[in-house]
């Protein structure tokens, strides 16, 4: 209102002013109007009245007076109203000015304050009275001039101004909004100026704050990812953030302001309407609304999913004035969720609706989760299934296989397995399933559960089985009855013939097409068949036609051809189809059956035997005439009658037989008696057998009975007589046979059969005499029998051989005779055979023996002669040789005295006498005989009295002892030698005969036993010198030696005859001949001295061993101690070092900067020293461990090893110049790890001690030495004084100060130790300042 310009202000003040400006006019107008009206009205009235004269005169005068009075009154009233209005306006203005909180001042053109209200006075800081009427300078001092200047400008231009002006009021800086307007007087010229000051300090601050807040809000709004918007109650957008603006296709949020959703181009009408509906809903209900997910197509065409949240927007009074909304882009979240839900849904659906059973099975076999299908397969409800285990519902026969696979699955051997197995269903059924099981594992690979998928394959299994059955059936069917299929066109021309046609007819199906098949039909049937087909074809009817076709084998076969019409989809006739089925077999069978039946009936009826056929109820079907006559049934109609009705007398056992027949058995009897009802006895041969119907069921029985009564009686008589005769022969002790002229056996008795080894039945079954005769005897037999038959001889009685059935021979004495019939004919021969095998055998044995003995004598190396009557009657070749004769004739006729030297003659004579007296054999003696050449020969003689051709004779055997005598002489010599040797070696000999236990021993043996020398000894005597355990051992050994020739070698204690105990060694070598121990021989040796020495040695050894054991134990203890020492060192010595370095480092770290440099250095020294100590401990440990480690030798490529080591020890190439020269390095055999240590130590030493050389030269090489290859490392470094070389390899020995070269003094000690372990040695050569060479060898391999 203060900004309104003065010209068009509607205020009352100015309006009154304008009216006031017109006041004189209004008074003048009122006066004139009244005057004119008065004159016109009064004149008119006077004229109308037409007053007479005087009266008229008076009237005119009065009218003028009245006019003056009345006009004065009008002017007065008008003026007073105007003035009042003016006063009212002035008062109002004044009140307004005073009432307003704004400061109002009015200045005139001269700058004097015409008006000033209280607020203005407050600003100025003076009372109103002091302001009004004074000019600016008077009020404000010199500063007021400027104000005047602005005011003057306003007054001159007549244009108001508006501005803000800072003023200090009451000591406070305030800002005022100033409006100044010129005050125009009634003439329109500027009369004064009005100023209104309003304090806007607070407002400005508030506005700034609001602006700031807005800015922040905007920033926030534009930064949040959510969209934010707000609308008024008419859903008109009041604002939004950048997200919303962008989404809706605007560049800035401002563009959206004022639009409704319907006016946003990017929103579809439906969408906009929905949003606005939501807005109105929120506004109407005053509650927040969350619209779940909805799609928004953004201005750029992309689609996003939003989650919108709308809240009512309320003003201060709580009235809902609009709606504020946020949205969030949940596209991504939604996509993830969608994907998840989709996937989960798919899986759930898969699981639930799968056509296969699926289940999760715990590791214990319990079902954890299963789908409906799984439950259905197992026949359980899901709840029941979840309470079961797979082991419990698996068929017991399949469980083992399943469990074994589960085991393999759990072991990780297979990723899954499949198995066809059976589940036991709840109802007791069995269901076949194909089971596939995999294993779910967690991320650590631990099994969680099994995933089982089962498929019900019961149907398949059934189908498989059924298929197999069916296939088998069809195969059988096809094989049994070939069927051919065919097809014709509407003109009855064949268009297809299956291969069955070829099988049936042998005709190629291609040739049968058209009417070609007719060629295969029987000429008699062809026309009829064709006509029948034609008729069926024309009438389009099914027909079965029988005709004959020529089969592949040329024969004709009956077939039935089943022809059926076939029609197309529209009902049009397409032709015929049909199948040709071979029914020939059937036809023939029917024909055969029919024929057979007739024949059978005929046969039965006319059979010569009594024959009847019954059904299962034993009713007659048919009976032969003989049956009818035999059973006297001529007058009976048999048909339908029961056998038992006709013959009630049939005994129960026969009825039982019939029952057996009806049960399928064939029962027969060769001879059976049947007592008829009339008392007569009938002998019957009968048979009952079942007959079968087409299905091979027993349909009844056939009974056959033969009346053999007459035969039986005659036979009985004959048999009796025959029996008697037969028995005579049968029981004869000689073999008797009837043989027909062809040589065939007709009858034989038991004995004959026994001689030939065949049974009687076998013999009479066609065997001939020749067959049992030795081939050598056959010609003689043939001749003998021929002569007999011819009547030339009466009997033929040879000794001959039977060849028995088992191939053995049997000597028989045979007598063959040929009884003749009265007409002289020989019907058969009678042979009588007697076993002479034993006799023959004895003869043969005798002959053989004679032969054998003759040979024996001939070839006997001993001389044999026969002394008959004191003269040599026979002599063998050996005898001829012995006596040096030319041949036997030289000796025959000589007397024993001719053959012995004279000194033997007396003895000879006595012997002959005594021998002749007693007839006893002469025991063998040694004597001498005289050869023909006069030489004497020692012999051993034995004589035996024999009978020679009935004369007593003496068989004399002479054994030439020349060789033996020589051997004995040698033996004696040897024995002497052996005895001497035995005596020298204290070895005695002994021997005994295991049969008698008697034996002998040598003198030495006796001496060992301290017995007088005696050759004779017994086992018992020998054993008696042993006692206790030794006795048992020797007895057992001797027994074994005697029994089965086991040799022995024992060392035993023996108590000699003089009571002294000795150690002896006795060795036994039994002599075995022909599997029998013939002699046990052995030696015995006095080993007492040796034993004593041994004992001493043993004692010594034991002592030594004990001492070694003790020492070893000490060593082991020392070793263990050492080990535990080094273990402690490694532990306990390192800890304090670590603490020293640790805490020193902490101190350095914490107070390093504050420490004086000197102390800082000290601490560093502490750390350094401790580190060095640690290094020393480590090296020392390494050194001590070396002693405990065993070598692991193998071939080592030294060259490569040195290359590796060099690479390791050589410093950074940029650092120093080091020249290395590596010579040829032979491979060696050693522990690669330890050798590496050696090379590292030597090479690093070389690098270290050449630290001050430039260039450093390190040479590595090897030379052959008598101790094997010597390797060396040579450097041109610091070297050392050879006087201290002996210290070089000692532990902790250093030849250089630590400041010069660092080190622990263990490296070379290690080298030496390793080299020593390898069996080599290490040494060094050096000169101070000229370098050093370190050598080592590794000993000779092996």
């Amino acid at each position: 209102m203060l900004t309104a310009r003065p010209q068009d202000s509607p205020s009352a003040v100015f309006r009154t002013g304008t009216t006031l400006r017109d006041t004189p006019v209004r008074i003048a107008a009122a006066y004139v109007t009244f005057g004119v009206l008065w004159i016109w009205l009064s004149d008119t009235a006077l004229a109308w009245l037409k007053l007479p004269g005087d009266l008229g005169y008076w009237a005119a005068t009065g009218k003028g007076t009245a006019f003056v009075l009345l006009s004065a009154a009008v002017v007065f009233l008008t003026a007073r109203r105007e003035v009042r209005a003016l006063l009212h306006a002035a008062c109002l203005l004044d009140a307004v000015a005073k009432a307003t909180t704004d400061a109002v001042v009015v200045k005139d053109a001269a700058g004097r304050y015409l008006f000033c209200n209280a607020a203005a006075a407050q600003i100025v800081g003076r009372p109103v009275a002091e302001i009004v009427g004074r000019d600016q300078v008077a009020v404000f001092g010199a500063a007021g001039g400027r104000m005047t200047e602005r005011d003057q400008r306003i007054m001159q231009s007549g244009v108001g101004e508006e501005y803000e002006e800072p003023l200090t009021v009451g000591g406070r800086e305030r800002t005022y909004h100033v409006v100044k307007a010129p005050y125009l007087d009634a003439r329109g010229s500027v009369a004064a100026m009005v100023g209104v000051y309003r304090d806007v300090t607070e407002r400005n601050r508030a506005e700034a704050e609001v602006r700031h807040a807005r800015l922040m809000l905007r920033l926030v709004l534009d930064t949040v990812p959510q969209g934010v918007f707000w609308k008024d109650a008419q859903s008109r957008h009041l604002g939004c953030n950048a997200v919303v603006a962008r989404a809706l296709g605007f560049d800035s949020p401002e563009q959206l302001v004022g639009r409704t959703d319907a006016e946003i181009p990017s929103l579809g009408p439906g969408q906009a309407a929905r949003y606005m509906r939501d807005d109105q809903e929120v506004i109407r209900t005053g509650t927040a609304r969350l619209r779940g997910r909805e799609q928004l197509t953004r201005a750029d065409g992309s689609t996003v999913w939003l989650e919108t949240h709308k809240l009512p927007l309320r003003d201060d009074t709580g009235r809902v004035v609009g709606v504020i909304g946020t949205w969030e882009d949940v596209t991504e979240r939604r996509q993830t969720e969608e994907a998840l839900r989709e996937s989960e849904g798919q899986f759930r659906a898969t699981f639930e609706q799968a056509a296969v059973g699926m289940a999760h099975v715990g590791l214990d076999g319990r079902f954890v989760r299963a789908n409906e299908r799984f439950a259905a397969i197992t026949g359980l409800t899901r709840e029941e299934l979840l309470a079961a285990t797979f082991q419990g519902i698996t068929h017991p026969d399949d469980l083992a296989a399943d469990l074994s696979l589960v085991g393999r699955l759990l072991a990780g051997e297979v990723p899954f397995y499949s198995l066809e197995k059976r589940y036991l269903q709840k109802g007791g059924g069995v269901v076949w399933v194909n089971l596939t099981v995999s294993l779910r594992r967690d991320e650590r690979g631990e099994p969680i559960y099994f995933i089982s998928v089962v498929e019900d394959i019961t149907a398949r299994k059934w189908t498989e089985a059924a298929l197999r059955d069916s296939e088998r059936r069809f195969r059988a069917t096809a094989a049994a009855a070939p069927v051919a299929f065919w097809e014709t066109d509407p003109d009855m021309l064949c268009t297809f013939l299956s291969c069955g046609w070829q099988e049936l007819t042998g005709q190629d199906p291609a040739d049968g097409l058209g009417l070609g098949w007719l060629a295969m039909t029987h000429s008699d049937d062809a026309a009829a068949a064709e006509a029948a087909f034609r008729a069926a074809n024309d009438r389009r009817q099914a027909v079965d036609i029988d005709y004959r076709v020529r089969r592949a084998d040329g024969r004709y076969a009956w077939v039935v051809d089943r022809a059926r019409p076939r029609f197309g989809p529209a009902g049009e006739f397409l032709g015929m189809v049909g199948a040709v089925i071979d029914i020939d077999a059937r036809k023939q069978a029917v024909a055969a059956l029919r024929a057979s039946e007739g024949r059978l009936r005929l046969f039965v009826e006319h059979a010569p035997a009594a024959l009847a056929m019954f059904d299962r109820d034993m009713r007659y079907l048919v009976a032969s005439r003989r049956w009818i006559s035999d059973y006297r049934l001529q007058d009976t109609d048999l048909t339908g009658r029961s056998h038992y009705d006709l013959f009630p007398e049939i005994p129960d056992e026969w009825r039982a037989v019939h029952a057996r027949g009806l049960a399928g058995e064939v029962v027969r009897a060769d001879r059976d008696s049947f007592r008829r009802a009339d008392g007569s006895v009938q002998w019957l041969r009968w048979e009952v057998r079942p007959w079968h119907d087409a299905a091979w069921a027993v349909a009844g029985i056939v009974m056959f009975a033969d009346d053999i009564t007459a035969g039986v009686e005659a036979e009985a008589a004959l048999r009796e007589s025959e029996e008697r005769v037969r028995a005579t022969f049968e029981q004869a002790a000689v073999g008797i046979a009837h043989i027909d002229p062809a040589g065939r056996f007709v009858w034989v008795n038991e004995r004959y059969a026994a001689l030939t080894g065949y049974t009687r039945a076998e013999l009479v079954a066609g065997l001939t005499l020749d067959a049992v005769t030795h081939p050598d005897d056959r010609p003689r037999d043939a001749e003998g029998i021929a002569r007999l038959t011819a009547g030339e001889t009466q009997a033929y009685a040879p000794e001959k051989r039977f060849v028995r059935k088992d191939g053995s021979l049997c000597w028989v004495q045979v007598t063959v005779s040929a009884p003749r019939l009265p007409d002289g004919r020989v019907v058969h021969l009678i042979g009588v055979a007697q076993d002479i095998t034993d006799r023959k055998r004895a003869e043969a044995a005798l002959r053989e023996s004679e032969e054998r003995f003759r040979n024996l004598v001939e070839f006997l190396p001993d001389a044999v002669f026969l002394n008959v009557g004191g003269r040599v009657a026979f002599c063998n070749p050996a005898c001829v040789r012995l006596f040096g004769a030319a041949d036997a004739t030289d000796l025959i006729g000589k007397t024993p005295f001719d053959l012995h030297p004279p000194e033997w003659h007396d003895i000879l004579r006595r012997r002959v006498t005594s021998q002749e007296a007693t007839g006893e054999p002469v025991p063998g003696i040694e004597e001498e005989v005289l050869r023909l050449d006069g030489r004497r020969v020692p012999v051993y003689v034995a004589a035996l009295p024999v009978m020679d051709r009935g004369v007593r004779a003496l068989l004399v055997v002479l054994h030439d002892l020349t060789e033996r005598k020589r051997a004995e002489a040698q033996l004696h010599q040897q024995e002497l030698m052996i005895r001497e040797a035995g005596e020298l070696a204290h070895v005695g000999g002994w021997g005994f005969d295991p049969a008698t236990g008697r034996g002998d021993w040598t003198e030495e043996t006796a001496r060992i036993h301290t017995l007088p020398p005696a050759a004779e000894a017994s086992v018992a005597e020998g054993l008696s010198f042993y006692a206790g355990e030794d006795r048992a051992r020797i007895e057992a050994a001797v027994a074994a030696a005697a029994a089965d020739g086991t040799p022995y070698d024992l060392e035993l204690r023996l108590t000699a005859a003089d009571g002294l105990e000795k150690w002896v060694r006795t060795i036994c070598r039994p002599i075995v001949d022909g599997g029998r121990v013939v002699r046990v021989r052995g030696s015995i040796q006095d080993i007492t001295d040796r034993k004593r020495t041994e004992e001493e040695i043993r004692a010594l050894n034991a002592d030594l061993e004990r001492r070694v054991r003790d020492r070893t134990a000490e060593l082991v203890a020392a070793n263990a101690e050492l080990e535990s020492f080094s273990y402690s060192v490694s532990h306990d010595l390192r800890s304090p070092i670590r603490h020293i370095t640790g805490f020193a480092a902490i101190v350095l770290e914490a107070c390093g900067p504050q420490l004086p440099p000197e102390n800082h250095g000290h601490l560093e020294q502490v750390v350094k020293a401790a580190r060095r100590m640690g290094q020393l401990v480590d090296d020392l440990l390494k050194f001590s461990r070396l002693g405990r480690r065993s070598l692991c030798r193998q071939a080592v490529d030294t060259g490569r090893l040195v290359d590796d080591c060099l690479r390791e020890v050589l410093p950074n190439p940029a650092g120093r110049r080091i020249e290395t020269r590596v010579g040829d390095l032979p491979a060696c055999f050693g522990d690669p790890g330890l050798l590496r240590q050696v090379w590292i130590n030597l090479l690093s030493n070389a690098v270290k001690y050449t630290g001050r050389r430039d260039p450093a030269v390190i040479q590595v090489g090897a030379t052959a030495t008598p101790d094997g290859v010597a390797y060396f490392v040579q450097d041109n470094g610091a070297g050392f004084d050879m006087r201290y070389a002996h210290k070089l390899f000692g532990v902790f020995q250093r030849l250089h100060r630590a400041e010069e070269f660092e080190g622990t003094g263990i490296g070379l000690a290690l080298v030496q130790r390793i080299v020593h372990q390898h069996g080599g040695r290490a040494w060094a050569e050096a000169e101070p300042g000229k370098g050093a060479t370190f050598w080592f060898t590794l000993g000779r391999p092996g």
């Binding site: 390192r1134 800890s1135 640790g1142 480092a1145 290094q1175």
Partner: protein, 145 residues
């Protein structure tokens, strides 16, 4: 799983304890450390018996075990912890001065998770403790419990 004690240090040498603590502090590993001074105490702590019967349940994230401990030695403690199905999954780190092969073999045979030979050099010790703490407390996920 939350547990007031995340690291159990079984170490009889107070100096080593101090060094471990120092190293942990230095590397801003603020996980609570509980120190036991002998093997028996370590077992009581782990199995919540005797002196630790009232300890709130929960197992430490990691156990640092000195090999040579009074009363029950470190190998035995390891054997007992790895032999019990409830505690088998607690990572155990052998922290020892010894580099002896036989100790190493035995500890690995018993299923130790890590075996660290305390280096003599403090800087390296420091580094080892730092890596150890970082690895077992920050990187290694405790078993679900």
């Amino acid at each position: 799983m939350t547990t007031p004690v995340e690291l159990l240090l079984a170490e009889d040498d107070p100096a080593d304890v101090a060094l471990v603590r120092h190293a942990f502090q230095k590397h801003n590993l603020s996980n609570p450390i509980h120190v036991v001074h002998d093997g028996a105490q370590a077992l009581e702590f782990v199995f919540r018996t005797d002196r630790y019967a009232d300890r709130p349940p929960g197992t430490p994230y990691v156990i640092l075990l000195d090999l040579k401990l009074p009363l029950v030695d470190g190998v035995e403690v390891l054997r007992r912890i790895k032999g019990d199905p409830d505690t088998r999954s607690i990572p155990v780190v052998m922290l020892t001065s010894s580099g002896e092969d036989r100790d190493l073999d035995e500890c690995y045979r018993l299923g130790v998770n890590s075996y660290i030979v305390k280096p003599v050099d403090f800087d390296r010790f420091d580094e080892v403790v730092r890596q150890l703490g970082l690895y077992w407390l920050l990187v290694n996920q405790p078993p679900p419990g």
